[in-house]
Structures are given as C-alpha cells and as structure tokens.
C-alpha cells in the first residue's frame, strides 16, 4: 500500500523533471514541479487532491466490510464481545489514541508549514508525526505479543485456557515483532555514523530524524510494558492468582486507588467460582449487583447454554486440540450463571471476537506502516526543500491519508476497548 500511496501522490509532481531542462522550456509558465500533461499548478493540485479523496473513499469502504462483520457478530453474541473486550487493555488503547490524535495535529501543522515555506519546522513536524507512528506500533507490539502469549488468538488458533491464564514458556513473540524494527534501527544508526564520518551533509540531515523515529518504537515498547503490567488486565490476573492461592482473602488489593473497575468485582468474588472461571469477565461479575442485570440477560438468552452445553463445549475443546472439528449447535434454555464464562470463552465464540480484533487492528497497523513509508519519503523531500507555497500537494495528500488512518482508530478504540 505504501507504493500505491506514493505512486498516487507522486504522479502529481514533477513527472518529467529533467525532461524540461533538457529541451529548454522549463520556464516560468511551466515550472519544474508541474507535470507535462497539466496546464496549471492549480489543475495539478486539484487532480491530486480529488484523487486522494477518492482513494480515501476506497479505504473507508475497505474497512466497512470489517465494520459490518463486527456489527453482525456483535449483534449475534453481545455477551461474547463484552466479555472478551475485558482482555483488551484500555490504558494502552487510550495511550495509542492520544498518540495518534497528537500525530494528526502535528501532521496538520506540517501541511501549514509547507504552505508557509517553513522548511525546518516542516521537517520537525513530519519527524514528530513519524515518531508518534512508531510509538503507536511499539505499544501495539506489547498488546499483540501479550495476547498471543495467552493464546487469545483467532477462532481456529484460539487456545486460551481459563484454568491456566498464565502459561509458562512458549515463543517470545515480542522478540519476533521487535527483531525487524531492531534491524532497521541498527541500519539507520550505521547510516547515521557513516554519513557523519563521510561528512555527507544531506544524508546526515535525513538520518538524524530517522534515528529518533526508530528509537521511538522502543519508547513505545517500553511505555507499553510499563502500562501493561500496571494495567487493568494485568491486575485482574494478578488478583485471580492471589484469589486462587489465598483461598478467599481477595481483598488485599482493594485499597489500591489505581486499580481499575474490574478488580473491584474481584473483591467480592467467591473464590471457588473464581478459581474455576479464572477470568475477569463473567466470573468477576457473579456477585456484583451492578452486573447482575448483565448476567440475567446472559441467562435468559436462549443461546446461552447450560451444563449440558458446557460439557459439550469442553468435549469439543479437547476434540479441537486433537485436531477435531467443533460444531456449535447447542441451544439449551436452562442456562446457569456458572456456565456463562465458559460460553464466552468457547474458542468458537471468543475466537471470532479476536479474529475481528486482529483483522481490524492488523489492517489498521498495516496502514500505519504504509503511512510511515510515505511520511519518510516526505521527510526526505522536505529536507531537500522540495515544497513551496505553490507546490505542497504531496504533504497535503499524505496529511489526508494520515487523518483517515487516525480516524479509523478513533472508531476502533471505543468499539473494541470500551464496550464492557
């Protein structure tokens, strides 16, 4: 996608650049940044802008398919979405929302800088935008790797085990995600040193902001690590561990004001239920009057099933681990409260939530990566001082693209993280 964006935007600029100087009519009425087939810079700018808006329309429609899937499956099983949403870390999501909003602000400021020919400031704004993008990805890396570790995966791979919420061992997913970024960072560092030693001024100018941008990924990872361990999700699990081991003396965290709402439930939870359920969502709800309404709804829903269903689910789960096939056919009206968490966490149900979560946030992350690619290209051009008051189209177009990527996240965050 990076190449297509670049292609789109770059079509509108200085297409046969040196062709002009070659045959000598690169004069005032056809400046170097104006492509041959356009008559005026205005026509070129309008074309590029309309093209970009149309491209954004296709982007919206591209995501609309996934928003539809989200709506269909959430309408179908609201309790699964509410239950599974608790596994998402609201703090990390909120931080990322803030980071992206700030990057949109710097991007918009960058467009203004390009129009006002503030070259230094434009470079700084683009570099800040890029840094926000890499912080976002760093935080995302923490979120993803943590969930993969727990087995919170798409339906077919879902392997979360409520009775063992802290699996030991397994691959170090975070390292896998960070490795390519680390390689790029090392590459940029070498480039920085070499261009410094060789005294290549332009390359040095480019390498310096890019170095900061690369390092910001690891800032994001660090930020994510700190917040993740202190986040609500982590606390839930800590509490469960405590609850399980201390056999009912669960109130020890209750005085901590930083704790999220989830664990307030945990204080009241019956230890036995907690140990069985082993998850924050429904287990924690069981005695809380605030959540009783939710539970009643869960129980009255015919699709929520009883003990028989639970048995079928466990059987199916073991079958799945042996490569079997799971058919979700149970519809038993005699639902019990105890079986609710099991139902929520059945791979065939919870897995679909995580499928949609990974599809939407994953494709969003790919768009961030594409945006990074285009922004780097803009950064280099801005250092080369390509843009001026008559020619700032590419900055404007990339800005539009960046805003839509931001806006999609603005929708994703509440729909995924804030529905409990």
């Amino acid at each position: 996608m990076a190449t297509t964006d670049a292609g789109l935007a770059s079509d509108a600029h200085e297409q046969p650049g040196h062709g002009h100087s070659d045959h000598g009519h690169g004069d005032h009425d056809h400046p170097s940044y104006l492509a041959h087939h356009f008559d005026t810079p205005e026509q070129q700018f309008d074309s590029g802008k309309l093209g970009m808006w149309l491209f954004l329309v296709t982007e919206v429609l591209f995501f609309s398919g996934m928003f539809c899937a989200y709506a269909i499956f959430r309408a179908w099983r609201p309790e699964v979405f509410e239950g599974c949403s608790q596994f998402l870390n609201t703090k990390l999501g909120a931080i990322n929302t803030g980071v992206l909003l700030f990057s949109s602000f710097t991007m918009a400021w960058g467009v203004r800088c390009a129009q006002k020919e503030q070259h230094k400031l434009l470079t700084a704004m683009l570099a800040t935008t890029l840094s926000c993008a890499t912080v976002f990805l760093g935080v995302k890396a923490i979120e993803y790797s943590h969930k993969w570790h727990l087995g919170l995966l798409p339906a077919g791979l879902f392997s979360y085990d409520p009775s063992n919420p802290h699996p030991v061992g397994g691959p170090n997913y975070l390292a896998y995600i960070c490795a390519p970024f680390a390689l790029i960072t090392i590459g940029v560092a070498i480039w920085l040193v070499v261009s410094f030693l060789r005294g290549a001024k332009f390359q040095l100018e480019c390498a310096k902001p890019l170095m900061v941008v690369c390092l910001c990924f690891f800032v994001g990872v660090g930020l994510g690590t700190i917040l993740e361990s202190g986040g609500d999700e982590g606390h839930h699990e800590d509490d469960h561990a405590v609850v399980a081991s201390a056999d009912g003396t669960a109130a020890e965290h209750g005085d901590d004001p930083s704790h999220a709402d989830g664990e307030e439930h945990a204080e009241h939870v019956e230890p036995a239920a907690e140990a069985v359920a082993g998850l924050p969502a429904a287990g924690a709800m069981s005695n809380d009057s605030a959540d009783l309404a939710v539970l009643e709804r869960l129980a009255s829903d015919a699709t929520n099933t009883g003990l028989q269903d639970e048995l079928a689910a466990r059987k199916a789960q073991s079958e799945r681990s042996g490569g079997g096939i799971l058919y979700d056919v149970s519809d038993d009206a005699s639902a019990t409260v105890a079986s609710a968490p099991e139902n929520v966490l059945r791979p065939s149900r919870a897995g679909v939530f995580f499928s949609i979560y990974y599809c939407m946030t994953g494709i969003h992350a790919i768009h961030i990566l594409a945006g990074i690619g285009v922004l780097v290209w803009l950064l280099v051009r801005s250092i080369r001082m390509d843009f001026n008051r008559n020619y700032f189209g590419p900055v404007d177009y990339v800005g539009l693209y960046w805003h839509i990527v931001d806006m999609i996240w603005i929708y994703l965050f509440p729909l995924m993280y804030l529905i409990r």
């Binding site: 190449t3 297509t4 292609g7 789109l8 770059s10 079509d11 509108a12 297409q15 046969p16 650049g17 040196h18 062709g19 070659d22 045959h23 009519h25 492509a35 041959h36 087939h37 026509q43 309008d46 074309s47 309309l50 093209g51 149309l54 491209f55 329309v57 296709t58 982007e59 429609l61 591209f62 995501f63 609309s64 398919g65 996934m66 539809c68 899937a69 269909i72 499956f73 995966l153 798409p154 339906a155 077919g156 791979l157 096939i325 799971l326 058919y327 979700d328 791979p347 065939s348 149900r349 897995g351 679909v352 499928s355 949609i356 990974y358 599809c359 494709i363």
Partner: protein, 589 residues
C-alpha cells in the same frame, strides 16, 4: 462535394495522415519504451493485448466445457489424454475446474478490464481533449497490477486448479484443496488495478477537461466510463476486504465465514455480491457507452435523448448498489428482504430500457451505414434486449425459485455479458481500430465475423434458456439424456462463435499487414478523437481541439477529392502546440 464549395469564412479542417515521427506508436522505439511508457494510448494497447489473451484462454476453456457436454455422460474430459494429464482427477473434477477458471478468467481478467481499461484508456483523454490521464504513473502501475493478478491466476491454474466456481462461496472455498488462496490473491490484486483505473478516470474527467468541454458536451462514452468508474471505486474495495477475509479464513480460521468456526457463510454471499452485482454493471455500462457512439456515428444522426442516456448511466451506477440480494433469493434471507430486493431489481430495468429506446430512436430515419461496427451495435441491441428481459424473470421472486441455478441463469448472463459486453467490445474495437493502429481492415471480413458471432452466439445460448426452464441445473458435468439435443445445439453454436471470433482476430491482424492507411475520420464521427490523426500523435492533438457538440454531424462532409470525411469549421488562428522534442517520459526516469 469537394473542398471548393466551402462557404467564405469557413475552412476545411482535415488532419490528413500523420508523419511517422508524430505518431504515438513510432515516436520512440524498443521494448522498454513500451514497458515504461506513461502514454495512455500505449497502456491502452497493452491492455488490449492482455485482455485479448485472457479472452482467448477463457474462450478455450469454454470450448472445453461445451465439448464435454456434447453427450449426457460427458465427452472431452473422459478422454484418455486428460486421464494421462491428471491421473488423480475424475472427469467431473476436471469439468469443475474448467468451468470455474472459465468464469474467473472471463470475469476478473477479461470483461471487467476489457472496455474500461483497454478502450477506455485509449479513448478517455482523446475524447476529452486532454493530453493524458491525470495520473499516468498510476495508470501504468494498474496495468502491471493487472499483469500480476493474471500471473496469480495462471499459477492457480498450474498449481492445483480452482473448483469453487468464480464466486468462491464458503464453506466449500474454505475446505477444498484447490488453489483458492492463489486465485483470491489474484482477484484481490486485479481489484486494485480496477480501482486505480476508475480513480484515474474520475479525476481525469473532473479536472482535465479543456475549456469548452462542459459536462453535457462530453461524448456518452465518457459518461458511461464515469459511471463505471464510480462503481469501480465504491464497490471493489469491499471485494478486496472480502477476499482478504477469505484468505484469512483459510489460513487462520478466523470464523467469520466458516461455519466450522461459528462463522456465517451467508455473510460471505452478502459481502461478495455487494461487490459482484455492481461489478456486472462495471461490465455492461461501458458497453452502453460504446453503443451510444456507434449507433449515432454510423446512423450519421444526432443521438436521441442525450441527457436521458447520460443520466441513466449514473442512475444504473447508483441503483446497482442496492440490488445485490437478488443473487441470494434461495440462500435463506427473510421473506421480506427477498421481496424488497426483488422490487428494487425491477427499478434497474427502467434506465436500461431508456437507453435501448433512445438507440432505436436514434436509428429511426438516420442514414445508416451498415459497417462492421454498426452491425455489431445492432446485434448488441438485439441480444442485450433478450438478456435484459430474461433478467426480469430472474428478478421476479416466484419464477426465480424455479429458475435459480439453472441454465436459464447461464443463458441470461451470457446474453448480457457476451451478447452485450463482448459484442459491444468487438464493435468498439472495429470502430476505433483505424484510430488505434492507423490501418483500415477488410470490411467484408469484419461483416463475416459479425454474422458468425451473432449466429453462433444465439445457437449457443438460446437452447440454454429452454434447458434451464426445463430444469437443467448449471455447473453439472453430466445430464439426463433428454437434454442431449439442446446441449448439442449449444455445442455447435459455441464452435461457430469461436470461429467468428477467430475471423475477427484474423481480420484485425491482417489489416496491420496489408490494410489501407486510415484517414483521421473514417466514419464521419464528430467526437474529438476523430480530429487528430490516425494514429494520434504523442500528445494527442497537433493544436488545441475546438470543443463542439459531439453529435453534430452537419459540418462533417464527405470530400470526394480527398476520398475521406473532412470537417468544415469557422476559420481560426492556428496556434501550434509545443511538441516535446523528447518523447515518452520513461526517458526522464
């Protein structure tokens, strides 16, 4: 009449014949000058070659289908040769793969890009009076995306085939062993090619119109292309995400479409048809545009109801988005939904009928020249009317319950897609061929091809209406013996149709060898492309074209001395356009 009788104050505008160096085909040489060209005309020609190759491949597969169906138990794939080629596959499996690839190649590689990408690329900027499309590099990249998508389809063909039908319906597409991922990746890439072409045309038509070219002075082909582009931009991304989710379904089992993981296959059908129904208008709308041009030019008469035709194109584009459910009447939607979709489907027939009536009214009292393109255009009106009216049978809920997934459906959409789009495409190629290559073809050969295509096509698909209404299901490799005579008629028809298409190819290729030089305006057309030489120069126009009424034929006269059409225009100052000394932009990269 000769140039001598021109009234005073007027001049004869005759672009004449191009000199070799001002011709877009010859202004630069070498394979690289084509591979990296940014010239919309060359890209259009490359598309023409590409889609024709895909058409050939898909056509051969179609012949394979028809030959297999010659006898009730199947003929062709029972042959020892196929058993030797694919020892692990039963004849029925081969049949499944052949009809799937026939459909997928014809839809994704041929029909969708045929008119918009091949003819559209060549014609849109010239008809508009622009030097090029708005984004020439994006244009070239969409051609290479097309090539990439085609390669994926060929890989799918060579790897383990594809047997899902071109619709990739789940759950079968998530469980079959055939190369679904390769084919869907190909379709995904082709989708982006199509999006970029549509985007390019919308921007070109919006921002590149020269002074004087108002919206209602645009030729109707441009209106049709514009409507098509709207659908391409709005519908294709949804196909993209659907195919992406299908790939994820197969690899990660995301459980959105796959009932094994609690997914919903009907959701896939909704997603798929949300694109693929508008896509059939991507296929037919540009054909409407071509027919509007052909009928008017070869009747030498102003098009009847210009604005109605223009607006009906836009209306079809918008209506196309709300009728997709008529593909799914039997898929288990609620009765009220099916009724609504059925009612909405009927609305599409209104703008389509407006067009047909307007074309017929244009021909009425026109001075019709029965040239090859005109014969194709008349064939189109005939065939499209049958295709459109049988569509109403299928849009009607009650009859569709009986006809769904029978040969009636097959016959219906072939009447629209082949009888409509392909015939219009051929008519368009014959119409603009002199402009594209600068050579006239043999008129006799062209008429022969049109006759063979018309006869062969009807012989192939009329029997299929009868087959379908008698209950012959589509996609079956074998059938009851009572259906044999009609199936055999259909097979004979397919062979005649194939011969007709080869005659058309032969006639066009022969024109390159021994064709007469084409004048700028061989048919007496009034749109801008007939103002520049044949073939056009690199930047399309020697001097800025005067934009007039695209269907005003009064000032176009046959000059007996010059033996060609000339335009009699008010005198104006000649302002030469700067012609770049250095040619295509590949040199500047």
């Amino acid at each position: 009449m000769s140039a001598g009788s021109v009234p005073s104050g007027y001049e004869v505008n005759d672009p004449g014949y191009p000199t070799p160096q001002e011709n877009y085909l010859t202004n630069s040489k070498g394979i690289l000058s084509w591979a990296f060209t940014l010239d919309h005309k060359r890209i259009g020609m490359m598309y023409l070659i590409g889609v024709s190759s895909a058409f050939l491949l898909g056509g051969l597969l179609a012949i394979g289908i028809r030959l297999h169906l010659f006898a009730p138990d199947g003929v062709l794939f029972n042959n020892a040769l196929f058993q030797w080629l694919a020892p692990d596959k039963a004849p029925n499996d081969i049949y499944n793969q052949v009809f799937t690839l026939h459909g997928a190649i014809m839809v994704f590689l041929f029909i969708i890009p045929s008119i918009p990408a091949a003819l559209g690329n060549f014609l849109v900027p010239v008809m508009l009076g622009a030097k090029d499309v708005a984004f020439p590099r994006l244009n070239l990249s969409s051609f290479y995306l097309w090539v990439g998508g085609a390669l994926f389809f060929i890989m799918a063909l060579l790897a383990s085939g594809l047997d899902t039908g071109w619709t990739f319906y789940t759950p079968y597409s998530t469980t079959t062993d055939s190369s679904v991922i390769l084919a869907t990746t190909g379709a995904f890439i082709l989708g982006f090619s199509s999006i970029f072409t549509g985007l390019n045309f919308i921007v070109t038509i919006n921002t590149m119109r020269p002074p004087g070219m108002t919206w209602f002075r645009m030729p109707l082909f441009l209106w049709a292309t514009y409507s098509t582009s709207i659908i391409q931009v709005l519908a294709t991304p949804v196909l993209g995400i659907t195919l992406l989710l299908l790939i994820a379904e197969r690899t990660l089992h995301i459980g959105i479409f796959d009932p094994e993981y609690n997914g919903d296959p009907v959701t896939f059908q909704h997603f798929f048809w949300f694109y693929s129904h508008p896509a059939v208008y991507i296929m037919i709308l540009p054909a409407f545009g071509i027919i509007s041009e052909l009928i008017s030019v070869h009747s030498h008469k102003r098009i009847f109801g210009y604005r109605f035709i223009a607006y009906s194109s836009i209306a079809i584009a918008l209506l196309s988005f709300i009728v997709w459910g008529h593909h799914m009447f039997t898929s288990g939607m609620s009765p009220i939904t099916t009724i609504i979709f059925s009612a909405l489907t009927f609305t599409v027939s209104v703008p389509s009928a407006i067009k047909v009536f307007n074309w017929v009214a244009t021909m009425f009292k026109g001075s019709i020249s029965l040239t090859t393109p005109m014969v194709y255009a008349i064939a189109f009106i005939f065939l499209f009317t049958i295709g459109g009216l049988t569509g109403l049978h299928l849009g009607t809920l009650a009859t569709d319950m009986h006809l769904h997934d029978t040969y009636f459906v097959v016959a219906h959409f072939h009447y629209v897609m082949v009888g409509g789009t392909v015939v219009a495409f051929l008519g368009g190629v014959f119409h603009w061929w002199p402009k594209m290559v600068g050579k006239m073809y043999s008129e006799v050969g062209g008429l022969l091809s049109a006759a063979l295509v018309f006869i062969g096509f009807n012989l192939t698909f009329l029997p299929q209406f009868i087959l379908g209404s008698r209950g012959m299901p589509r996609r079956y490799a074998t059938y009851d013996p009572e259906f044999a005579p009609l199936h055999q008629m259909s097979t004979y028809g397919a062979l005649i149709l194939g011969v007709g298409l080869f005659v058309a190819l032969f006639v066009l290729l022969m024109s390159l060898l021994n064709g007469k030089k084409a004048p700028a305006n061989p048919w007496g057309g009034a749109t801008l492309e007939w103002n520049c030489t044949s073939p056009p120069p690199f930047y399309n126009f020697e001097r800025p074209p005067v934009v007039g009424d695209p269907y005003e034929f009064g000032d176009i006269r046959w000059d007996t001395e010059l033996d060609r059409y000339v335009k009699v225009e008010p005198k104006r100052e000649r302002v030469p356009v700067e012609t770049p000394a250095e040619t295509p932009a590949h040199a500047s990269e």
